[in-house]
């Protein structure tokens, strides 16, 4: 499954960069993230609970950031396993200043497998799009709050 798009965040690329590299603030923005613990440089262990209506699943996995070019781009890798299945993905985030705000372009690929994929195949892409949307909406709110 490929995911790509862009989102405008109300802050400078430097502020967005700081947010993306701050695990404490990041953990609050990742939908369903219950824990995010440092596990080496630019690497974290994560516990995530996804819930969409009655369907929910807990995943344990890792989050890693590579190819850091502050404040222009970075690559995120995620890897998780849980009762309903597994997921693995990576994506490139590119930040560009635009009229005092920041346009974040993202493009990535994710694989979801196991029971959740076998049964929920027709809903997984929608769920992924929703999670990405929630993340950016949360980031926009957080940036607005911290600058105001």
């Amino acid at each position: 499954m490929k995911l790509s798009g862009s989102y405008i965040l109300p802050a400078t690329p430097e502020q967005v960069w700081a947010l993306l590299n701050d695990p404490v603030r990041l953990a609050k923005l990742l939908p369903g993230c219950e824990r995010l613990d440092a596990d080496g440089t630019d690497r974290w262990k994560a516990a995530v609970k996804f819930a969409i209506a009655a369907i929910s699943g807990k995943y344990a996995g890792s989050l890693q950031i590579t190819e850091k070019k502050p404040p222009k781009s970075l690559r995120i890798h995620i890897d998780g396993k849980g009762v309903p299945g597994f997921m693995k993905g990576e994506g490139l985030l590119e930040l560009a200043a635009k009229h005092g705000e920041t346009e974040v372009k993202y493009s990535g690929e994710a694989q979801v497998g196991g029971m959740v994929a076998a049964v929920g195949q027709r809903m997984i892409e929608m769920a992924a799009r929703k999670i990405v949307q929630q993340f950016f909406e949360g980031a926009a709110k957080e940036l607005k709050a911290s600058s105001g």
Binding site: A53, A54, I55, S56, R122, M126
Partner: protein
Amino acid sequence: MIPAPFEYHAPKTLEEALRLVERHGDEAKILAGGHSLLPLMKLRLATPRFIVDIGRLRGMSYIREEGGHIVIGALTTHVEVEHSELLQKKCAVLAETAGNIGDVQVRNRGTIGGSLAHADPAADYPATILALDAEMVVASSSGTRTIPARDFFVDMLTTQLRPGEILTQVRVPILPPRAGSAYCKLHQPASGFAIVGAAARLDVERSWKITAAAVGLTGLSPKAFRAAAVEKALVGKKASEKLLADAARHAAQGIEPLADLHASAEYRREMASVFTRRALERALARALGKSA
């Protein structure tokens, strides 16, 4: 294939059911026909702590005329909707939609209220409920409220229903004479869900002028929606095969269709046009009193 442990309640009255769902809040799931919830529970994708089985409540399975509406009890099964003479006569599209759901077992057990409350993005009823401007009547321990169809669906598997509320009735306006309606669907052969489902309603004058048009689409995006661009292209114009086909081209306008194993986004977009056109043609034929 064995669900996680849960506490089972089978209330005898709606009041008792409302007390239970209020007490257990979002830890409770309401079980009606069970044809969406039970598969999720058996695969442990859903693990509710409390099940409130409303399947035994009396007096929630009916289809009758009331004022200018046809009212349908939430526990009315798809097969009862499909075979209702009242609906076939006065709101054909709803009976036709029910007949297109899943398979015989699903239609025998599944309920209209259960399907709407579950809000599967590929379910059939949401398209039709939207095209008909129907209303959902919802009960809670503090009273009842009515939610218009266009506000009811929020996102995939998510409606306006709050924990503690139970959908009790669907109210469908009776179509005026010289109105026609139809539901056309591209089935996903294994699951029976809609790859694309189109519900259409047309009000047509004797001169073939279209005075009102409504099109609801399901299967394309996280929730069913009204194809406003199609409707706009139809209203006030004289009906013709070409007009319907041209209008149907706008079916997925402004939508980024879902892509999955069964259909790419481009294919879904194209099929949305094709099935919208077919539904419009059948609705027109019915409005003009021809059999279709």
